[in-house]
């Protein structure tokens, strides 16, 4: 295990912190409206939801800092909207945004990707060979989709042979709508499920199944279709109360569930899906299969000293952060926000909204030579669409406790109001988050 060697960089950070205190740069927490004067260099790896949000917040709290975003992506995808695209509710352009529109003023944006993290030397190297030293690093790379982990599967198959998968992006989501609408017209066997790995928006596979059911009913073809959800373990949802509710909905809507079924192989030509189960392999034929790929950390993190070295998050290379402060457990000048974090919960856009202020609080506090106060409790939110026009606002923490933001909304009840929040208001909330306002 690499050790953190203080060396000259920590001396530089101590100097920065001491200077800030000596100059009386702040007499109250920056969160109370004042900015911290500093010359610190902060590199943010990734300009997705997490990276842009952190940059916006840092720019508001810091005066003089060099905040650098590193990401080659000029297009920003509003990922919570992919479910709507994949079910024909919204067109693909609905989720396409421009990264440039959300890069905070005064932030440098290097249009390259991080290829290597060197936290011992406190620097990153990009895929174009650019070296960027930092005083503080925020890892917000997001995660990588591993379609190849399913034998016979490739992202290029999406939209063909009844194969759908919304996670691969707007084009894939639109192609998924194509195969779903064909399935709605003809009926047949629809297979849904999720991988055993950590994944972003774990409720999305269920939403796809519910929406497929609703679309079939609207088309009058539900009697010709069978919907089978293949759960990777013995639950449909990780939160027990929600799991019970979802099972009730499955019974009501005549959705079938197979438990402990993990997709390992597909044969597109024969339309046969192979699942690993406790009783051996099982083959199921499909007319529609919604494939959710296994997910893991990008190679740059996975192959770096920043990844968990042991424990449940090590195999897929997730970032080793303290689950409450989101500060790296071995490299104190490194923080993580978003899907990359190896924490028990929190791979949703709503989680970013709660994680970003916590990481920023502790980062700024470290700059100022004091301790941060904010804590991340694992908040995760899933507007669980059960049909077009209704959804449940499921919110929970690390301990699977339901944590409703609105006391008047029962998280286990389906409501039109929650559907409106998802379909009409969520995108605006998301973009306001990118600008650091919520």
């Amino acid at each position: 295990m690499p050790s953190f060697s203080p060396g000259p960089l920590l001396d530089r950070r101590r100097f920065l912190a001491g200077s800030a205190a000596a100059l009386g740069a702040f007499s109250a927490s920056p969160a109370q409206g004042q900015t911290l004067k500093t010359k610190a260099r902060i590199v943010i790896a990734g300009a997705g939801a997490a990276g842009l949000t952190v940059a916006s917040r840092l720019r508001r709290l810091l005066d003089g800092a060099d905040v650098v975003l590193v990401d080659a992506g000029i297009e920003h995808i509003y990922q919570p909207g992919l479910t709507l695209v994949g079910t024909g509710i919204r067109p693909s352009r609905y989720v396409r945004l421009s990264t440039a529109d959300y890069v905070a003023s005064g932030t440098r944006w290097i249009r390259e990707n991080v290829a290597e993290f060197d936290p011992v030397a406190s620097r990153i190297v990009t895929d174009k060979g650019t070296w960027l030293p930092y005083d503080f690093l925020v890892v917000a790379t997001g995660l990588a989709l591993d379609y190849a982990a399913i034998e016979g599967m490739d992202a290029s198959l999406i939209g063909r042979e009844g194969i759908a998968s919304i996670y691969a992006g707007p084009d894939a989501a639109a192609a998924s709508w194509g195969v779903l609408s064909a399935f709605v017209g003809k009926g047949g066997v629809g297979l849904f499920g999720r991988p055993t790995t950590e994944m972003k928006c774990a409720g999305a596979p269920l939403k796809q199944a519910f929406l497929a059911d609703d679309l079939l009913r609207r088309a009058g073809t539900r009697g010709r279709a069978e919907i089978i959800y293949n759960a990777h373990n013995d639950t449909l949802f990780s939160v027990p109360l929600v799991d019970a509710k979802v099972r009730t909905l499955f019974d009501r809507q005549d959705l079938k569930a197979n438990f402990s079924h993990v997709l390992t192989r597909i044969d597109p030509g024969r339309r046969i899906a192979t699942f690993a189960t406790p009783r051996g392999t099982e083959e199921l034929r499909w007319d529609l299969i919604h494939v959710i790929p296994p997910m893991r950390a990008p190679a740059s993190v996975r192959h770096s000293p920043l990844a968990w070295q042991s424990g449940p998050f090590a195999a897929d290379g997730w970032l080793e952060v303290d689950k409450a402060t989101l500060r790296h457990r071995r490299f104190p000048n490194v923080f993580g926000v978003g899907d990359i974090n190896g924490v028990p919960k929190g791979k949703t856009a709503a989680s970013v909204k709660w994680q970003a202020p916590v990481a920023v609080d502790h980062l700024v506090a470290a700059m100022a030579g004091r301790s941060g106060t904010e804590i991340y409790n694992g908040y995760t939110s899933c507007p669980l669409i059960t049909k077009i026009g209704r959804a449940m606002l499921v919110e929970f923490d690390y301990d699977n406790r339901l944590t409703p933001s609105f006391p008047f909304i029962d998280p286990l009840d389906e409501h039109w109001v929650v559907w409106i929040m998802e379909e009409k208001m969520l995108k605006a909330t998301y973009t306001a988050m990118l600008r650091g306002f919520v």
Binding site: I89, K387, I388, G389, R390, S405, F406, P407, F408, I409, D410, D413, E414, H415, W416, V417, W419, I420, E423, K424, M425, K427, A428, T429, T431, A432, R435, F437, V438
Partner: protein, 117 residues
């Protein structure tokens, strides 16, 4: 709930309305001024202007309530419980109050200029 500050709500409105935000704010401010003027000139919410605006408010409120589910790709059968029906009632009331106020603001001033009521 603690995150729904005025700043956050304004930012949310700005994201939802985009370039329409400030024109809507300006129009609302203008109508508010005209409404105050109309109330002063009509000596309250009264007369033909009030009757006309109440009718307009009723029509707009009812239309808003009837259209709201469809505008969200839903139907009335999707409304469930006090939360949803309460929201629909609020939409109807907002339509009624907004249309009544706007109509009275314009009608009240027009009636005044025409020397009526």
């Amino acid at each position: 709930m603690k995150d729904f500050t005025l700043t956050a709500m304004f930012a949310l409105s700005a994201e939802m309305l985009g370039g329409f935000l400030w024109p809507i704010v300006a129009l609302t401010a203008l109508l508010a001024v005209l409404l105050l003027f109309a109330l002063m000139r009509q000596r309250g919410f009264r007369g033909p202007a009030a009757r006309a605006s109440a009718i307009a408010g009723f029509v707009v409120g009812a239309a808003a309530g009837l259209a709201a589910p469809a505008l969200t790709k839903a139907s009335f059968s999707d409304l469930h419980g006090a939360l949803d029906w309460g929201a629909l009632i609020l939409i109807v009331l907002a339509g009624f109050v907004g249309a009544t106020a706007a109509t009275f603001a314009l009608a009240g001033c027009a009636w005044h200029r025409a020397g009526k009521g």
